[in-house]
Structure formats: C-alpha cells, structure tokens
Assembly symmetry: D2
C-alpha cells in the first residue's frame, strides 16, 4: 500500500503515519519527492489494511498495490482450476454448453427443452425454480416443484442441472436437487448467501453483479473459497451502461482480464446480457473466441408463451444449429464440449 | 402497452397479436402508419403484461405506457406519506437528521457519537451491527452485541435507532432492537428480504441499489408495500458511473423525480455517495435544497481509528457546526428537523 | 411517433395535439385506454418531428417509432455496403486488417512498422500526424511532415493509409495524402467536420464517441452520407463505463446491432478499447467471430520508446503471429483479408 | 509517479526503469516490499511523464501522483479566480444568473425572452446561433443573423451575451458579437478549438463533456489557459449514466470537487442536465447550495413552439418567480447575483 501525502503535509503528519505502521509491526518507507511525499507500507498486509490512513491528517490518498483477494488469485494458484460436474468439466481444454429455459414452467415445457439440449450435445441443463423478478407481480417460480421437474429431466437425459439459490433458508432444499448452485447477479454481494454456499460440497456458478467491477467479482468468489468450497465458476453476464440497444453491455474483455488474475473458469451468459435472441449466436461465438470456458444460454420450446425472458430465448428447434456453430469455434480454440 | 410491429410485419402477424389480446379479455387497437403498424393494448394490465409480445413473430418492440408499480405510485396515493418514528417524522414538513457511526465498534465509541448527535439536535441514530463488506477479511460487525449497544444509546439519548438487516434469518433479532430497519444498497433486489420486512410493523429505510434505476427502486418498495408495510423511506446514496473522484455519483435529480412519481419520503446519504468527509456538508445542503425529507450521515468520535468508512465520517466534534448549517437550509425550505 | 398523454390530460389538450398535427398535414390517431390516451402521429416524419409535443400541456412523453436516420439505415439500403480502398475492401466477405503506430514519430519508426505490417499481410497502414491529446503538454503529432512519412511508407509497401483529421481547416492537407480519413472518438459529434468530410470523395472511418449510443453513431454517419459521401466505415472502440481494469469497455454487441440496423461496414479497434497489449489478440478474435468487417490495431517497432500509447501497441515482431491467428478466424467466418 | 513492478519482475527490469529515469535527469527511488517493488520517480515531471514505463518489461502499472494540469490548479493559484463580464462577475461572492432561449429563432422570440430575463434580474443572456444537433435534419441555427439579434438584445437590455462557438473558422465572426464564448459539451475535447479561444481576450464558458471526468475537464481548461486566456468559466451540465428518467445525471459533487482542485469559477446548467422543465428549479437551488458560482438556464416565450429544447425551457412568464427563489438561496450562501 502506498500512502500519498498532501502537498502541505507536515513532518509530524508524515511521522504519525510511520508510527501507526510501526505499531502494527509494519514499516513505513518514506520517499520525499520535489512536491509530494509518499510512504510505502511494508509488512503484513492484513495488519496494514486495518489501518485507516485516509482518515489521518495530511494524507491525500491511499493506493493499494496488492490485490485484495488471495484464494481467487492466480498468484496463489498458478494453474487453471478445472471444475468437474459429473462427466462435464469447465476449465483447461474442457468447455461446457449449458442450456435450458429461464424458468421451469411445467414438466412438458422443461422436458421438451431438456431433450433438445441433450440431442444437440449440451453439457448441462439450466432452469430456475426460485426466480428473482423486478416486479412482485411477475411469476416467481415453481419452487421445489420446479426442482423436482429438473431432477426428472436429469433422470431422463443424464445431464447435470444448474439452478439458482436466492435465500440462505433454501440451501438444503436446493442441495437435494442441484448439481451446480447458481448465485444470480442481484445476489453477487449477498455475503451471507456466499458464505453458505462456501460451506457445501457443490460447484457454484457465480454471476457478476450488473454493476460490479471484476475485482468485486473476485472478492465475492473469495467469500465462497474462504469457507472451503474450491469449485467456483465465474459468469460474465453484461454490465449496466448508457447504451439502450441491449439490456446490458457484455464485457468480453473481462474474460481475458479474469484469466490473467485468477485461476477460476469463466462462462458467459449472452442471453441475459443482450435480451435479444438474434444476438445470442454472434456473442456466443465471440465468447468462445475470447477464451470463455463455457456458455449458459436460454432455450424454450415455445418462447412466445414463456413466463419469463421469451424474447431472448432460442427456440429449441434452432438450438441444434446453434450448438453446431458453437462447436466449430470451440474446436478452433483448441477445446471441446464436454 | 404499445406493440410496435416490424416494417415488414404481415397482416397475419398483426392479427395474431390482436387475437392473443382478445384471448385474455383485452383489446388490440390497431393503428397503421405509413411505415409501421402499432397496436395499443387496452384492458386489464396484469393480464396484458403476462403476454409475451416481444417473442411473437413480426413484433419489433414493446413499449410500456403505465408505470409497473401501483402502491408506491402517487397516482394511487396522491398525498405525501409521512413516516413517523417515535417523535420524529419524515415527509411533508418533517425532516429527519440521522447520524452516527458506520459500524458499532464498542460501547464507548458508540455512546460518544450518540451523545454528540443528541446534543446537536439529530433526529435518530444510525449504526451497523451486521455489515456487508466487499472483502471477507474486513470487520463484519459485532452482530447482536452491536444491537445491544445501540439500544443502550437509545436508552440514554431517547433517539430512535436505524440499523441494517442483511439476512432473512436475522429478522427477529433485529426487530428486538431497531426502530427503523435499513435495507442496504446491495440488497435492494434481495426480494426475499424485501418480502420479510414487508410483513413486519416497523418502518423500513430502503437504499437505492448502486446501479438501480429509479423505477427499480420503486419496484423494490412495491415488494415491501405489497406485504402490508406502508412505512417505507427511500434513500438516494449515489450511483455507479465512470467518474473516479467520488466513490459514487450522487443523483440529486432523483429526489424531485421520485417525489413526482411517488408519495414516499426520500432521504439522502451523502457520506457513502462521496466517500469524502469534505464533500458531506455541501452535498447535504444541496440535498435539502432539492427537496429531500432527511439526511443520513456518518459521524465518528475518532475517524482515524474507525473500523469502517473513516475517511467519509464527520468527526463528532464537527457535527454541531454541520447540524447548525443544515438546519438553516431545512428552515429555508419550509421544513423543520423533527 | 406516439404521444402519450398524462393520466389527467383534458379533452382540450388531446384535441390541441391533434390540431397541431393537422396543421402540418399529418394525422393524429387517438387511442383511449382505461388510464391513458395515446396519439399516434401519421404523416410526413420530418414535418412531425419539427413539432414540439413534449412542451405541450397534458403530454406525458413522446415515443419515437421510426429511426431518425435514413441514409445509414438498412431499410433504405438493404444490401451491405462494401467500401473499396485501392485493392482492399470492407464489407461482405472482404475483411481489412489495418495496422501501424498510434502516431508517426520518425521515418525510421514508421517504415519499420509499415514493412512488418506488409510482411504479415495487413491491408492498410494506420498512423496519426495530427493527434488529439488529453494534455496540452503531450506530443501533438508531426503534422504534415508525418503525412509525408506515411506517403513514403505507402510508396514502399503499396498499402493504403488511414489517418486522422481533426480540424476543418486541415481538410485539403489531409486529402493530399490520406486514402481513408479517420474521424476520432472525440470528434464523432463535431458536426462541421462531419459535413466537410461528407463533401469529399474519400472513404471515412468514423469512430464511435466514447459515450455515444449506437443511434448517435448512425446519426453522425448520416451527417456524412447526407453530403454525398457514401463510403463510411464505422468503428467500435469501446465505451466509457465504471469498470477500471480496461481503458474502455469494448461493446462487441454493437457489431451485430449495427449490422441489423445499417448497411455500413464496421471495424473494431481493440487497442484503444483496452489499453493493454495482452488483451488485443483475444478481443481481435472475438471481433472477427462477432461479425466485424475489419480490425484497426496499433503496432510499434519499439513500444517502450513510443511517444503515444506504448502500453497498448503490439511489438512489430509479434505482429506476424497475431495476423496469422486473426486470419484463421477470418476464414472461419467465411471472409478473407483483402 | 510511482512505477509498480510485477510480482516476478527481475533485478534487471528494475534497474532498467531506474536507468531510464537517470537518462532524463530524474531519480528512481526503489522500495522493495515483501511481494512487490515500487519505484518512485523524482525529478522534472514533464521529463518523467515522457517516459513510457508501462511498456517496459516487468512493469505492472504506473500510478500518477501529481495532477496533470498546472495553470488550472489551485496549487499554482490559491485564490479564487473571479471572471468579470461587463458589470457581472463569477467567483468569490459574485453569482451570475444566465438565461435565455436554447437557440435564437427570431427577433421577436429573442427580445421577449431577453426583456423578461432583464426584468427578473438576470446577469447575462444566453442563446445559440450555431447549434450542434444530433440529427442533420434538425434546425441548425441562424448563424450570424442570430448573433445580430443577440447583439440587438444586448443593446436594449444592457446584458452581456453568451453564445456557442463550434468551428475554428467562425472565431472572428463570433468575437464580433459575443461577450462570453461558450464551448459546448461535444467540443470539450476539440483541442484546436480550445487553443483558438485560448488566444483571444474574451471569457470562455467551457462545458464538461457528457462523459468527461473532472480531471479531463480541467485538462481542457488547461489548453485554454496555456494559450494565455485566464478567463475560463467551467460548467457542469450532467454526465451520461444508465438512469433513463433524466437526459443526463447532474453531478453536483463535481462543484466542491472542482473548487478544491481549481481556482476557476463553476456554473451549472440544470436545463440540459435534466431535459425537464419541472426539475430546473429544484436542481438550481441545489446548485446554489452546493457552491456554484452561477446558473445557465433555458427560457422561452413559447416553449411549445421552440425549435430546440422546448421541453426543458422555462416559460418566460415563470422566470420571475424562478429568479426570486434562486436569489433567496444565493443570499443564503453569502453571495449576490451580480
């Protein structure tokens, strides 16, 4: 950590910073420039970060040097983490294509989508039983009945299922059914929920908050990792910007940025990012090309009658062609859909 | 709701939209322009909004006309809501000045801040016992012990206390102590939590999500109101933008915009918005001038040793001068600190 | 255009809107819903857009239905425009790889970069002689001397040159040398400059403003097209968001969105978007996969000594490998580098 | 400037940075921490900023310490600059209320607005003769004829006039009429234009770009100041964010932030920021309360027939009441309208 002093900082103020560092067993390395003095803090970083430099007199600003996450960092774990889910994998040369409806609406709807996903070679099934909806008047999901339908689809297709957990009180229920627990964008900083899924033995797919920085996403992953669960899959799903032509702006640069900072696998959700079916294929191909370890896309047997996100769902009868095109790019990137 | 058809929409596609409307007892009012055809949907809006127009063939886009919230809307409740908390009030001519540390750290720290707040004429005390922290390695709050300290401060000063609830499993604990339950910016769309606080008889201070639109804030309030709790206080606390010189960009236009759309009182948090102590006073005065019903500000007896947000906390010995200046503007606005 | 009236709009106010429409020879199609009345304006859109509905009493909001651009629109020009520059082309199956230093610094520097670009199979050379710099104390470019160096590089390599025009007073000078005139991100809404380049017979590469919507970009193109110059190439180069890990956030969804709305070719600038050399290759591949018609990338024989943008420039000796990888994806997309 | 080395930087790489500093007569102060090494660059800052550290091997990132502007900085000019325009002033205790139509449409329209502005005690008149319009099909202004009408209004009312310059070729024409030259938001980084107005003896009102940081605004001011023109007035007019309920998000924290960094006066434009007439008064009062040195607001004798920005213009017959309310807050802030 570097502490930049104000132009008019006094010697007493500089000494005070150094003394506070010494008090926690750290060292203050003072560097006096023509205009400003900078103090480099050297020592145990947890001790140092507990000090409140920017509230000290004479301090202009504090510049962190080290990343605030540890377990999520590639520095502490140089090799790629490969998360295994049944016979699928994410990371290294293993790519996962996760498909299915936004929400589980009925057994018929879900099984039709699941069969088509299976036929097209998808890796896993997605589907929501507990749904976060902006309006209290919108369909809120089927709850455990939805999970049972998903389990039936897994039974039939053999594909693992990914579903969202929203409430720490539902952990046990969701654990009975889910192969991968999804934490949604609105809960990326629901720290209680993160701690709970950190304590279970089940992979977690953690979506980036719609206005979270990449660093905040990695800090959220750290909450899970810290509790002992090493199987965290990150998900880029678009951030909020001023551009109105898509629901969110998909930040594909985030994938190579994350790959450099962290060992965790990253998937992309082009359906929620854009909100438009026509954009799902081109952005899926771009995601593969930029280095993603998987895709999570919405499909529906009848988008027009979908209770949620119909406009961005691929009709299941177009999914085969979609998957074929995605596979070409996955192979081009030296990976394969597992 | 207006359904705008694509330029090349066929008569069959137009008729299909009209038929779907008729099927739910609504009417489709077709308006054919030189280039495009628009269908106005007239009828029960809950029925209509359940239809998935933008997934229908030939539809270009769907434009909502009515606001999606009802109970939060000024249309259904034309007069200002005044939320009462003990002898304080928010709304109409009643203004609340809420002060105190970011987090409760010790009895000594909290009581010193509370006494100073009382002496300066504050309306209520703020303080966090359960703290949402970006890093799992940061101080997470004292939990129920913190709430007990806050209760002791209330006992001594007579001021009501505002504190954050983060987990639905903590509702009962927090209810034992809090006069106002705060829902933080990261939980604005934690819909389970919103529903829970909608079921209790205790005012709720709902902070705007850092990337939430005003409409989403009002929809979040709707979740609470729908469960029966009418005492919702909204809070503007800055939104995320590209400008790096403040932690967030305080959106003061939101206050008159909300006042026009909704009857609920609105307070401003200039401390979290800016992250800088020096900016708290000018933005507090601007908040009063723009029409806010209250302020929630961070104070600390010793900001330098604060475990959280020291750089944005007013030292308690400057709070008297701050409160005096705020009071002048409150009176100028025809209100009084209650 | 749809005019949405306020809930409490009177019949007189509704009639007033209809009368104003009639006064310009247009029709107001009144649609009365349970809560609100909407007036569809039908007639000549230039006439209608001149009316100031949202300043009329009783009007809640005005919703445009048709796109405000015409010549840039795919509706008026359904086939892809292919812009030809010497033997190169952009659009359809023709892809352009444009490479070179951010700014022309010396003959030696520029020729080394040019030769390497040629050797790797690039389509055109980029380089700045007039440089827009945030600081008045930064290197501002060599001016016409820089253009002469670029012309010498063209002479030697046979590759066309792309360079920026910033000032309407420099049009003639730049025209003496440039094969493609670049309008930079800070000048996307410099309407005088747009009109000037609309009057010349030379392709224009128009960069998206760093906070411009896609619609504004197309409106800026319209300024050029309206003056008679049909050879407009659009360029996505990143937009400004809250994410600090890249200089800008590259909006790759913009490419398929633009392709749907407009017939103009689109290239991507991954160097300025990210500001980081390591990110240039993955985002270049993603740009090809998403459907771009070209790439414009920064290369430098010695990035460390570059007077501008060294950190994002590819060293020329890595450019061969870069171009080889890009070519694989261009061919995968069914195009070829021309 | 601090150069932060990568975790795995070698001694050679560290030495190379130090050597490059030495080569320009500066010193590299090496500080080795447990994990990273940081090099503080001490010496002439223009020399140092010319070095391209982030392109050097082993460098992780470069952190500037000093502000990149000088003449605009309060460090080099501690007292507030007061800009005088005839009998008006901006800065210190002098507040300017600038009013008038968005664009000059006719002599009748402009004179009616001017008279009302004078009657209500405004300081100056605003009005556009050269208009930057997003669409090439919108009204582009009356040009020099518009300036003549403004001059006639000045003649009659005695109020100085503020008008926009968009093209360096129009400098002489605009100088014949304008008392204050306005540089619009789209031209904040039109560096040629900035240099031109830096060479004239006439105050310049420089609007913040809609996605410019405060630092970039001060750098743009530096371009003007550097050429010798010391009379620069800054203007906050809203920045682009995701919030759709206002045209832009007015960043009122920018005023105290700028005041701390710079000696230049700052005015606020609440009309363009919000795009809504109803919001102009509350945000004007907030601007005064937060410390602005002036307001620039749009008024029109008949907003409904305005050729530009009708929805955000105050009708002139409401301007008297508006000015009265603003004056109360100006006096509260210890200033007076000059």
């Amino acid at each position: 950590m570097m502490i930049v002093m104000k132009l008019d900082a006094t010697d007493e103020q500089i000494q005070h910073v150094v003394d506070r560092l010494a008090a926690v067993g750290a060292q203050g390395h003072v560097s006096r420039g023509e205009f400003v003095t900078i103090i480099g803090a050297i020592g145990d970083r947890d001790q140092i970060s507990g000090l409140n430099f920017d509230a000290m007199a004479g301090v202009d600003k504090v510049m962190p040097i080290l990343k605030p996450y540890k377990l999520a960092s590639r520095e502490t774990h140089p090799e790629d983490t490969v998360v295994r889910v049944g016979e699928c994998g994410l990371g290294g040369s293993l790519f996962a294509l996760i498909a299915g409806p936004c929400s589980v609406e009925s057994e018929d709807q879900y099984l039709r989508a699941a069969r088509q996903a299976k036929a097209a070679g998808a890796s896993m099934l997605r589907g929501g039983a507990f749904k976060p909806r902006t309006s209290p008047y919108s369909f809120q999901g089927l709850g455990e009945d939805g999970l049972k339908i998903m389990a039936a689809a897994r039974e039939e297709t053999g594909l693992p299922i990914v579903t969202e957990l929203m409430d720490p009180r539902d952990v046990e229920t969701v654990l009975k059914y889910a192969d991968v627990i999804q934490i949604g964008t609105r809960n990326m900083q629901n720290f209680q929920l993160l701690s709970e899924v950190g304590k279970v033995e089940r992979p977690v797919l953690l979506k980036r908050g719609m206005s979270a920085t990449i660093e905040e996403l990695l800090m959220a992953a750290e909450y899970i990792l810290k509790e002992g669960n090493a199987d965290v899959i990150l998900c880029e799903r678009g951030i909020r910007t001023f551009e109105p032509s898509t629901r969110f702006t998909l930040d594909l640069a985030a994938i190579p940025v994350i790959k450099k900072q962290s060992h965790l696998p990253v998937v992309v959700d082009p359906s929620h990012a854009t909100g438009k079916r026509d954009l799902v294929l081109p952005l899926s191909l771009a995601s593969v090309a930029v280095g993603a370890d998987g895709l999570i896309v919405e499909t529906h047997p009848d988008p027009e009658s979908a209770l949620c996100d119909g406009s961005q769902s691929l009709p299941v009868d177009e999914f085969m062609a979609y998957a074929t095109e995605v596979r070409r790019y996955v192979e081009m990137a030296g990976k394969h859909i597992s």
